[in-house]
Amino acid sequence: MTKTGMIDFRGVNKWFGELNVLKDITLSVEPREVVVVCGPSGSGKSTLIRCVNGLEAIKDGDLVVDGQRLGNPATNMTQLRTEIGFVFQSFNLYPHKTALENVTLAPIHVRKIPRTEAEKAGRELLAKVGLADKVNAYPAQLSGGQQQRVAIARCLGMRPKIMLFDEPTSALDPEMISEVLDVMVAVAEEGMTMMVVTHEMGFARKVAQRVVFMDAGAIVESGTPDEFFSHPKTDRSRAFLSKILRH
């Protein structure tokens, strides 16, 4: 076995019916590395990161996460998922629970941390994402940007080794994007291993070691943010960049 990263795709394929949504993906993410995944819609980038915590199953190839092979009957997916935070485009906060309860639910029930301790840690996390005054608010009482920051705090509450972000700012009004990106930058700077599906180039330039460009289910190009944004190598990435840069 060769050197393994924190997340290792080796020849991964996936189909939705006839559609080959992931084509022969090989990609390794090192510990503490931040990888930004971009590409046109329908290119398979969300599917790619949803495979990492098993929200989507792969058809063939190997996917090894934190030393455990997915699809292997010996791998305890529930256990592995506690090490992987996932931030959704649509936040998916629990609407019947307060911000603090959203953050403490999994630590209390999965990690079995005593309630008082979990609530103390939860308050600290909410303060860290700038929401100390929203501890007892319900999601419906929060703006999109605030909800997404609670969602990030909810992941951090599990002290994960990996965090996955699926277009975390795409559902937000423009003026709320930066407050979420600021939190993500802070998480990245603390040394979190991250895969982030986003078109936010400022974020990519600031913290990503690598940008991966996908099109039609395949990884077309990969490089440092500078290489990719300043000197894209393929026609498809140039076409994509000219579209997102025009605005």
Binding site: Q79, F86, S90, N92, Y94, H96, L105, A106, V110
Partner: protein
């Protein structure tokens, strides 16, 4: 003559109370058991095991597609042929519980299906177990959808309990039949029987209406 009938009716007061008591006890026991069983079946039905799900679906369809009177007769008259002796009260409880469970199963399953998949995915991604996902994330949200029709169903089931008089249980409806033999004024007697059912059901009807209004507006935990 009407005066005599009223006097005679007043004499039937203890019997009427006993009948009302029987209706209430029978309904209460069946609704509690039926609710527990119905939630269990509803959760299993949506639980992902296709065989279990379709078996439950078939049973629910069978029960919903046959008259309750026929079901009671089957339980009360056919089971003894197979060597299972049941008194009328037990047979009534079994039949009503089964009926309640089947209707409640469908209500609960619909509520569970109404919870957005993103909620289940978020719970999955945090490493919650199957039971924790159900208990902490899915059921509390499903309850908003489930509660109003559930209480409405209780009203229907209390009224359906009148069918048990057919196997000789002295519930409110049977008391009506007994009294009308002594007081030959069917209109008056069964008017009073109806009032008895209405007194039991009306608070539940009010509760269902209240819940329906609350579910529209409220966020946060569902409170009764």
């Amino acid at each position: 003559m009407i005066w005599q009938q009223l006097q005679s009716l007043a004499g039937s007061y203890p019997l009427a109370l006993r009948g009302l008591g029987m209706t209430v006890v029978l309904s209460l026991i069946s609704l509690v058991l039926g609710t527990l069983l119905g939630f269990g079946l509803g959760i299993l039905r949506t639980g992902g095991n296709r065989l279990v799900g379709s078996l439950i679906g078939a049973w629910v369809d069978l029960i919903r597609g046959t008259p309750f009177l026929v079901q009671i007769f089957l339980i009360f008259f056919i089971l003894p042929e197979l060597g299972i002796e049941l008194d009328a009260f037990t047979a009534g409880i079994i039949a009503l519980t089964n009926l309640a469970a089947c209707f409640i199963c469908e209500i609960v399953a619909a509520g569970i299906r109404s919870v957005p998949t993103g909620q289940v995915e978020a719970a999955l991604a945090s490493g919650l177990s199957r039971w924790q996902r159900m208990r902490q994330v899915v059921l509390p949200q499903a309850m908003r959808i489930v509660l109003p029709p559930l209480v409405g169903q209780y009203v229907l089931l209390i009224k359906d309990s009148s069918v048990v008089s057919a196997i000789g249980l002295t519930d409110l409806t049977r008391v009506g039949w007994l009294v009308v033999q002594r007081v030959p004024n069917g209109l008056l007697v069964f008017f009073l029987v109806g009032v008895g059912y209405f007194i039991v059901c009306y608070p539940l009807i009010m509760l269902a209406r209240r819940l329906e209004r609350r579910m529209g507006a409220a966020h946060g935990e569902v409170q009764l």
